[in-house]
């Protein structure tokens, strides 16, 4: 019995101690210290951007491939963080949406005090209007996104949610949480939904 206990202590204890001394616990603390000392001259208001929320923490730790339990927790938490327009209308003006898709303005320390509204910067990563040739490829092409989906109401809602908070659909998605972070307003997101989902939009021409 005693021997069994000792074996158990060694089998469990040694890896636990090694983990604590050398493993993630130790290096995670060092990263936080390094972050703190490396932006020492930034103002406290700006330093706040360096601390992670739970979703950022888990997505960093698992390099965007969270285990199932944690993935479910992200889906639930981020889904709950989505706010919908009071009048229930999810589509705004596609022309304003097009301007937002083009604009990469906002959020950099050289963007303060704000000179204009924040942009969605969609073209940095996505193909949209076929005539716009300067598009990035970090995200999938959105050419004819609405047309392909026959402009379905469920798809309109899905696009709104994707822009507002993509982690509510894909845990640890690469795309920013434009609504939840407050980077874009609900009205701006509605305009972007219209740019993607309205039959008149050049995205669907």
């Amino acid at each position: 019995m005693h021997r069994l206990l000792m074996v158990a202590v060694v089998v469990i204890g040694v890896p636990v101690v090694a983990y604590l001394l050398l493993g993630r616990g130790h290096s995670a603390m060092s990263v936080d210290d390094v972050i703190k000392s490396s932006w020492a001259t930034a103002t406290p208001e700006w330093q706040a951007r360096l601390s992670q929320d739970e979703t950022q923490r888990v997505c960093s730790q698992y390099r965007n491939a969270p285990p199932p339990g944690l993935a479910d927790a992200i889906l639930a938490r981020e889904k709950a963080a989505i706010k919908y327009p009071a009048d229930g209308k999810l589509m705004g003006d596609w022309k304003r949406g097009e301007q937002l898709a083009q604009s990469g303005y906002g959020g950099r320390f050289t963007d303060y005090p704000p000179r204009t509204a924040n942009g969605g910067n969609c073209y940095a990563c996505h193909q949209m209007d076929g005539k716009e040739l300067s598009f990035g490829t970090l995200g999938p092409s959105l050419r004819e996104y609405g047309k392909i989906r026959k402009y379905g109401a469920d798809d309109v809602k899905a696009v709104y949610e994707r822009i507002y908070n993509p982690h509510a659909t894909i845990p640890c998605a690469n795309m920013p949480r434009m609504g939840t972070s407050g980077f874009l307003t609900i009205d701006q997101i509605k305009d972007l939904v219209a740019f993607v989902m309205s039959p008149e939009s050049p995205v669907n021409k």
């Binding site: 490396s38 960093s60 320390f109 050289t110």
Partner: protein, 272 residues
């Protein structure tokens, strides 16, 4: 200089007029220019910075009226040749891992008696300005490792730790956009708008690009160092301005150099 001007205007036209093919065309033009630079490295405007850096290295300056010739970049005092290929590394006198620029600041403080705050007050040149003193010095030292391959040391525990922290920082998502370095640099063949992005997690791709810095940037008309490159990425990630020579920049540099281990140093290179 005429070469530089005509290349700059050719690039400007390409970027403005034909975005579809611009990526390929711009890259082709840059490749042609790089080939010309290989044939005649002195036609690279960054060599003016390297030249000025060499003069600064030898000039007696600061309250101590000393040159930087006694500066130990890791291979002993005044051993500039090949030093950059082994940085970042652990320095016993400072008891920390330092990259080239961090070490230059340390030597300016210790040998020349200059105040840290004054040295790092304006580390980066603005577009179309001559390189700053730090940029000139960094370009000079890096140019003395041209043709060598990166051989970062991991013998000291703090070097290993810097690499581990750098790797963690590379994948750390933070800020209002949830960005990490990996958001843009963790896949092959991707681009932002028309700008291609190197897959820095992949050694084959890291080896091609890391050794290019410090580099002359045609669009800016000035030299950009690795410290500046990293600070600019964090700016784009919507994070505050990172401190020059901070541990995070050194750790990230350590990660990148280890990814690029065995890659040839072509600095000062030429970039968009």
């Amino acid at each position: 200089m005429r070469l530089r001007r005509s290349l700059a205007s050719a690039l400007a036209c390409l970027v403005l007029v034909v975005p579809a093919a611009a990526l390929d065309e711009t890259e082709k033009e840059l490749e042609r220019y790089r080939q010309m630079l290989k044939d005649d490295p002195w036609s690279n405007p960054a060599m003016l910075d390297a030249d000025r850096g060499e003069a600064l290295w030898k000039e007696k300056r600061g309250p101590s009226n000393a040159s930087l010739e006694a500066c130990d970049l890791g291979k002993g005092p005044d051993k500039v040749e090949g030093a950059f290929a082994e940085l970042p590394r652990y320095f016993r006198d400072a008891d920390r891992v330092m990259d080239l620029e961090t070490r230059l600041v340390w030597c300016m403080e210790k040998l020349q008696g200059l105040a840290h705050a004054d040295i790092v007050k304006r580390p980066y040149s603005k577009a179309n300005q001559a390189g700053t003193e730090l940029e000139a010095l960094a370009t000079y030292v890096a140019s003395k490792s041209r043709g060598l391959k990166y051989q970062p040391s991991l013998a000291h525990a703090k070097e290993k730790q810097a690499l581990a922290v750098g790797e963690a920082l590379f994948f750390r998502r933070q800020g209002p956009m949830d960005f990490s370095c990996a958001t843009c640099h963790a896949d092959t063949g991707r681009r932002i708008r028309l700008q291609s992005l190197p897959f820095l997690g992949k050694p084959e791709e890291a080896r091609k690009v890391i050794g290019e810095w410090p580099a002359y940037r045609v669009s800016q008309g000035t030299v950009m160092t690795m410290q500046h490159r990293i600070a600019d990425c964090y700016w784009q990630m919507r994070l505050p301005l990172i401190d020059y020579g901070s541990d995070a920049t050194v750790a990230l540099g350590m990660y990148l150099v280890n990814q690029a281990k065995g890659g040839e140093i072509t600095a000062p290179s030429i970039k968009r």
